[in-house]
Symmetry: C2
Subunit: 535 residues, 2 copies
Amino acid sequence: MADVRNADELFKEFKAQSVSEFFKKNAAMLGYTGKIRSLTTIVHEGVTNSLDACEEAGILPEISVWVEELGTEHYRVTMEDNASGIPLEYVPQVFGRMLAGSKAHRNIQSRGQQGIGVSGAVMFSQVTTGKPTSFLTSTGDTHIVKGRVQLDVKRNLGEIVDKEKLHNTSGWRGTVIAHEAKGVLYNKSRYSPYNYLRMTSIANPHARITFIEPDGTRILFERSTTLVPKPPKAIKPHPYGITPDDLLTMASNTDAKKLGAFLEKEFVRISSAKAEEIASLSGVSLAQQPARLSWDDAERVVNAFKATKFFAPPTEGLRPIGGEEIAKSLTSTLSPEFTQTITRAPQTFRGGILFVVEAGLAYGGKAGKGGIEIIRYANRAPLIFDQGGCAITEAVKSVDWKRYGVRDVEKVPLTVFVNIVSTHVPYTSAGKQALAMEEEIHAEVRYALMDCGRALSRFLAGKRKLYERRSKMNTLLKYVPETAAAIAALTGQDAAGVADRLSRIVSERYELVDEDEGDEGEAAPTDTEEDTDEQ
Amino acid sequence: MADVRNADELFKEFKAQSVSEFFKKNAAMLGYTGKIRSLTTIVHEGVTNSLDACEEAGILPEISVWVEELGTEHYRVTMEDNASGIPLEYVPQVFGRMLAGSKAHRNIQSRGQQGIGVSGAVMFSQVTTGKPTSFLTSTGDTHIVKGRVQLDVKRNLGEIVDKEKLHNTSGWRGTVIAHEAKGVLYNKSRYSPYNYLRMTSIANPHARITFIEPDGTRILFERSTTLVPKPPKAIKPHPYGITPDDLLTMASNTDAKKLGAFLEKEFVRISSAKAEEIASLSGVSLAQQPARLSWDDAERVVNAFKATKFFAPPTEGLRPIGGEEIAKSLTSTLSPEFTQTITRAPQTFRGGILFVVEAGLAYGGKAGKGGIEIIRYANRAPLIFDQGGCAITEAVKSVDWKRYGVRDVEKVPLTVFVNIVSTHVPYTSAGKQALAMEEEIHAEVRYALMDCGRALSRFLAGKRKLYERRSKMNTLLKYVPETAAAIAALTGQDAAGVADRLSRIVSERYELVDEDEGDEGEAAPTDTEEDTDEQ
């Protein structure tokens, strides 16, 4: 084998790269793929950050998004929020450093959770235009910081290119960020910023979002409630959700000096009585120093967790939208004939990561898009890409819709709404557009849909019965003039009067008298919408 | 708003995390999701690395994979290859550091391209069992290094836990790696290591793969060729595939002192005449120092690239499988009635990243799995997960199979084989199981399938004609005994002799005489396989 190359030769080219270099080369993993999707991804990153920031600060969100066309496939996206603002010293990290943030290490519900999103948008902007990203921010104090920020890709660090301090005469608080990007395209498809914001508005009824399109059209997605959702709360882990590795990581970070105190302090649902139980089951002493736990100790403690009964994790830290709000949103955007929603009880996946599934069905009106339309959310952020690879889609497909009265899934005017709320959403990719196939999540989505499906089934059965009754009634009414004429001839009564009475009798028999129209004895209108799924 | 929290309070919790911490928390992005998939992912990472290593070194791969069940949902995966081995000083980086490797910064076709895979498997093993990964490696010199390696997750560094040097008495060269993992499961579904290796073998006919299942069953996927594929070659970028940012990055790394030399040296297809053309189009002097190019210069040079005609990129660096090998593989694994394959001409996506699409169709036999079965590959590595979110799947679905004679896509016994070969595969996720929707790739896959589809169409039309001829013949043959009896009665000939002659006439008319069976005058057997797609 003369051609065989040896290891020393082969390994000469071995090198390390920074996480920014990695994502620059693999921008598709962050959602920067395709002209339309890339533009929407920029908007997605900015808006989810703004909503998270408002929620954490307890502020009612006012968000503006402005997309300008600067040239062929060349756009500027400017986004403003009224959140807490960013202290200057954090600007380089927030905007320019990947994997830096306040959420990844806390067990808290948020739209972003990785600390990649906004710096990804800054990088995409820089890579396509060579320009840093402009920002304005103020925490509401005496000044506003105005500047430009960029990424040092090799070192994964943010750099402020220039900055000035302006007087904050109006007391403005918030952040404005403006990215320029090339090789992107604006349109109004379902993958566009327009639809992204429309879907965001559906799941965030407390947010007011103003959108200015490239042609100057101004669209207001008005809030339907002024109730500020309670800020999500960091939730301590539940013993059922813990692996030995998690336990050791937590043990190396705690300031508790003994295992007993560590367990009681860092977990939910572990009382001192439970801690005793764990100690006796595992054989690991509660007096042991957490930092000195071995893997074997940790494994025994975790096995003891599994053998012990605990209350379910508390759920007050999670913030579902709520069935009523979902129904309101579906009604206002789709004007359906029927809606049904459900917020399921909290469950856990992988042993103990808390999540809640919310679902809704809307039938008729503008619902459905040539068959079942799925609208997916995770922590209220819309998932509009990668639908095919998402556990939610799999769950929707796994439901036997025929059992719920849907005769043709290819044509039914049905919109399926699903929102997953969790402290840790198991995304399949850093682009955060699809959920991994976690069995428990898949099952919960199914149950939620089946629950709503039962109501749909009743509605459709009623609709069919109504349709059949109307058909019968219409048949009978068709003979009214003839019958009335015959009766009139026999009895000498006024034919119109007889017809009127006969029509009322038929209509009353079929319980369809309309207060306004009944007197005129008109046949009930044949609603062409009605048999849409009867084909 | 009494509840509003200010920025200083909110930003106290801001922290950075390492790339290993990120992927530890988001292991689903690396493919560690679900018990079965997690086990297969470990095998996938090891085997792709081994195949790449053999290919680069010009070695005919001999790979062994051994899965042992150590306890409930507790397995050990041991993999051995005969590649170049790893010099000791690189072991911590290869096995324990994410984003370190020899491929990410080179423009070369390889299965791995990120430098995450194997360290991801080491991390998964460590996180589920607390144990480092064992290894043995030798570059074929006087010694073998035996040791254990683990990840320092916080710092994203590999650490050798223990090591010893053994005498290499047999001259063995290669690497053995053994991961233990908990919370995983072995079975024989299409998502299993078994199917993964079977599919690997289909696309790598030069590899011999031995697989030992947990119950001791030994399976040999034998090579069907002993031709060592030529090692892939790093390909210099083509000017059409370059963005201004790429140009500046390359300019800051080159040792050329002038733009002219830089262009000629670092790109393919730029001669000095072409360089002159670019200079005059862009107005950027060829004497300019590459490191001093501004964004504006870079943009003008790239625009000049686009306005200049260049030869297509050279393709000798890419290593497709080849239509003949694909057909051989499909035939040996599926025993189909029909195969058709194609290796398309090289194309580029995003302006200039070179790729080749290969496709194959197999019809009948064991092809198809309740309708069209799609088997996907990227650089010969099987993609068995995330099928729904892959551009290949979209392309297969976009083909109007009815036009190619397929009457029922839900039932047709058809296997579709697609392999994409590229120096940079645009994966949607670090788990490398699905391709992003790059328009050019989508289009090429479609064209490849349509091309094979035309042959399928001819085959199926022939099959139908044959079926119809056979039906007619069978009808005629049914009347032979009666007719023969009548003729015999009229002419006084022997009835059996007349029947025999009549049968031959009918059969010859329909060109279906079988050498062996024709004499017996049997009706041609009705092949029940035949009308599988005629339902």
